[in-house]
Amino acid sequence: MTVQIASPKFKSNARAALKDAQLQRALGKVEQGFVGKRRMVADRLPEFEALRDLARDIKDHTLAHLDLYLEAWERRATEQGGQVHWAATAEDARRIILDICKRRGAKTVTKGKSMIAEEIGLNDHLVEHGVTPVETDLGEYIIQLRHEAPSHIIAPAIHLNKDQIEADFRRAHAELPPERNLEEPASLMAEARAVLREKFLAADVGITGANFLIAETGSSVIVTNEGNGDLTQTLPKVHIVLASIEKVVPTLEDATTILRVLARSATGQEMSVYTTFSTGPRREGDPDGPEEYHVVILDNGRSSTLGGKFREMLRCIRCGACMNHCPVYAAVGGHAYGWVYPGPMGAVLTPSLIGIDKAGHLPNASTFCGRCEEVCPVRIPLPKLMRHWREREFERHLSPATVRWGLGFWAFFARRPWLYRPATRLAMKTLARFGGRRGRMHWLPLAGSWTRHRDFPVPERDTFQAQWKKRLKAEAKQKAEAEAAAREAEKAEEKARENVT
């Protein structure tokens, strides 16, 4: 389904998400699942940090030579019988894919999970033109039945509980006996396997994304655990790969290095179950494989991103570690972000793709705790990039009046230290009086949206600067005392020596 942009409503989305008991139960599992497993596999591989450095360097090197590696990849892919289509915009990509489907008279299209397909709104476009897309990743299949967007880039249905999925399956698979037992996740999965198996075998075209394109061999690479991507691309007569320009890497060795950090960062696996390197269509004598192999290579604004402050974001390999470790994501889930890419990576990427005017809330929805940067396998400085967006939002006068007024008020004092110090001293004294002896405040003027949800801590009695001054003074005193004591000791020692001689 095409994702409608709901990012401008982030605040109300988040409020609704916090009140949604079902969603909160589902989100509780993100941390216990992904975070611990990632830690475990990272700890048992001594080279993990060195691999992260190298993955970052490979991506940087490739981005700095992106034009040449794309040309090299295109040359090799074409030599092996692949057909390469360049798409500057989402519209171009949709048109190219629909044209291929129409030329082959396609009625149904199976799809492996592709965030870029979500980004360009491919499914709705196909439906509008009489082609039925069938998502085959279990999570994507579930959300397609619900006409929802994915709420996580690698676990699209992570916001749902099994009772909801059972209800969806009973509604969508009405031809199956109503008395069947679907209580357990295993029975749900078995049903999806059986239903989708028929779709795989009947599909005219298979569309997958790509985790990598390899310049050395002209290959595309997909990584899955279910095997749905492989059935999608092996069984139909036509395989279409949808990839964005920053997916290219130079060599098999480079892809291998990044693969070593991808699954570990994403699901905490040593390696995903199926990593598949595809190069061109079926060869002479091959008993299976697609007759046509197309790659649609999408820009959609990325080439401009390459030139600015946000280039580092193009290193992203879509593992989802940043959202798995994000306290904001854990509290509100992926849908609150209002578009395809949630969490910290979404907070940086979404403004580049749909505009800071629509996505301004996202880089503001951060506590700047820095966990995302700590776990990012290609070391993207996500907090720094969110800060850049905040600056740009301010420069373009997009921030709300209260924020601008507040910042202006603060800046007035901050630029005048002689005024700032007494003012903060006074403010702290006042706050301390408000808090009384409890040390916490249940209510505070102008901070109602904070105190409605939690208490405001009463500040220490002194300002930081005053405390720092005190500390320096104390240290100086201590040092002077120590020096005096040392001098005394020296003198005593000298005296003792004199006495001996």
């Binding site: 040449l68 749905n228 092996t234 070593r260 179950v273 190069t279 390459l306």
Partner: protein, 223 residues
Amino acid sequence: MSRDLILGSIRRSLGVTGTEAPRRTVTNDRLSRHPRGVVPERGALSPRKRLNLFRDMLAEANGTLQEVASPDDVPAAVADYLRSKNLPLEIRRGADPRLEAIPWQNEKALEVSVGRSDGRQLAAVSHAFKAVAETGTLVLVSGPDNPTTLNFLPEHHIVVVDAKDVAGDYETVWDALRKKVGKHFPRTVNWITGASRSADIEQVLLHGAHGPKGLHVLVVGRP
């Protein structure tokens, strides 16, 4: 048109024209020399220990392994596996010469057919190009004798691999593949690490999502 637009925009962003000789030298060098990155030491072991590591890592990914002394022992091992899973004694296999050389007729009850899968077979037998101890990964290469459908459609996938083909790391396998195929990279190279799985429903880990529910590896010969 889009092509020139995209490449032009990339070059504007990078402040280059695309004709600079030093940039071309750097990229051509990397593509032809394909330097190795950081290779984990985990797999740098004696052949016996390497095979043990492969077995352990495979087990973590819910795959099973049996060692057999020679290709002659494969049919009985296949039949044993099928019986243990309560499956009919039928397999579909590719025409790989190493599978052709196996005396399937020795296992009288075992029905063996050759070719791709159309989705009706419950069990398939493939021959792996190599295995990687580092993560318990099998490497399979498509071709006229090795249908890719056998790797994904049947419910159980039995993979035969020579003990001497168990490598420590992926890089060793890439070099071996380059040596074998030259510039003609195979249509499909499959890395398979364990049985098909999904955790999309409430993060409960389940096996047999779309691909095989069972992955069984038969290692032939001495490491």
